[in-house]
């Protein structure tokens, strides 16, 4: 594996940069494979690298007081993992791990700090993303507090669908129950109901998206604001 030329890069942020800024990233980036459950940022530990995702999905999770894990952010090839480093923060209480395998271009922490000091347009682009990521987390909190489990599941499936090629999402019910912070039968029942509405088809360890518009309707308005802001601020579709 080598770092692709900008024409072939799949990360949306890197694709949106000026060629000079991209080449500066390319000079210090290293391609890596992301296996399911790889931890990119360990809770409370120094952040060693930022990862620009080329494919796959990374979840940021926290533990509830009851010890259950719940997702606070989801990143795919539209973003990068390591926002704290951009903000001059060396560690975070949350963990980021790979939930759908893929590839990334990673940059070591010190090299990353030099990059954003020397390339203001790059720093600005990543800051816009950091803001959209904040909106996504805020929307997740709003949706956890105000939307039904079925609506939250529909929103999550749409966000996951945005970040994987094709329509088959490799997720188990157990996995979804962790992401949404609920009991598995709650997820199974919500999946059954979304299936009944024609939005998805569930298989073992897989959910196939059949009709995005139906899923959007089922999300009850909980999906879409961060995606619209991404388009408005960064100027390309996430």
């Amino acid at each position: 594996m080598s770092v692709p030329s900008q024409r072939f890069v799949r990360n949306t942020l890197l694709g949106a940069l000026d060629l000079r800024d991209y080449e500066a990233v390319r000079a210090v980036a290293e391609p890596v494979s992301l296996a399911r459950r790889d931890v990119l940022i360990a809770a409370g530990q120094p952040i060693t690298h930022v990862h620009f995702l080329e494919s796959g999905v990374v979840s940021e999770v926290t533990a509830t007081p009851g010890g259950r894990r719940i997702e606070v952010n989801l990143t795919g090839r539209e973003g990068f993992v390591g926002v704290p480093l951009l903000l001059d923060v060396d560690r975070t209480p949350y963990e980021s791990f790979v939930q759908i395998e893929g590839e990334a271009l990673r940059v070591e922490g010190v090299a990353f700090l030099r990059l954003i000091q020397a390339h203001d347009a790059l720093r600005r682009c990543l800051s816009l993303y950091a803001y959209v990521a904040h909106l996504q987390t805020a929307d997740t909190a709003i949706s956890n507090g105000n939307h039904t489990l079925e609506e939250r599941l529909a929103r999550w499936l749409l966000m996951c669908h945005d970040r994987v090629p094709g329509d088959a999402l490799p997720v188990t019910h157990a996995f979804l129950s962790t992401m949404l912070g609920v009991r598995r039968p709650g997820v199974t029942t919500a999946i059954h109901s979304l299936e009944g509405a024609g939005g998805i088809r569930a298989r073992r360890s897989q959910v196939e998206v059949l009709d995005r518009e139906k899923l959007k309707a089922a999300a009850g308005g909980s999906y879409g604001m961060p995606e619209r802001e991404y388009r408005r601020l960064i100027g390309v579709a996430p």
């Binding site: 489990l149 609920v182 009991r183 199974t188 029942t189 059954h192």
Partner: protein
């Protein structure tokens, strides 16, 4: 450890548990099912109004699909 499936009976529909859980015995499976029912009925802000849930039952099966135990949500 045997695997038990906590399927949900919703009137005519059977909502299958595709993954199952590895649990020491049926008593433990019953305990888990009761815990889940209490959690679901006790947190309507997460799982929705108790009404529709109270019309459902857990149908616990083994790996061959034999129904070993039925627990109506309304019985808890």
């Amino acid at each position: 450890m045997p695997r038990y499936f906590l399927n949900i009976r919703d009137n005519d529909a059977l909502i299958a548990d595709p993954d199952g859980d590895d649990i020491p015995d049926l008593d433990e499976a019953r305990t888990l099912a009761l815990e889940i029912i209490n959690d679901i009925l006790g947190r309507p802000n997460v799982y929705g109004a108790p009404g529709p849930w109270q019309a459902r039952s857990f149908e616990i099966t083994d790996e061959t699909g034999t129904v070993l135990l039925t627990i109506p949500f309304a019985s808890v």
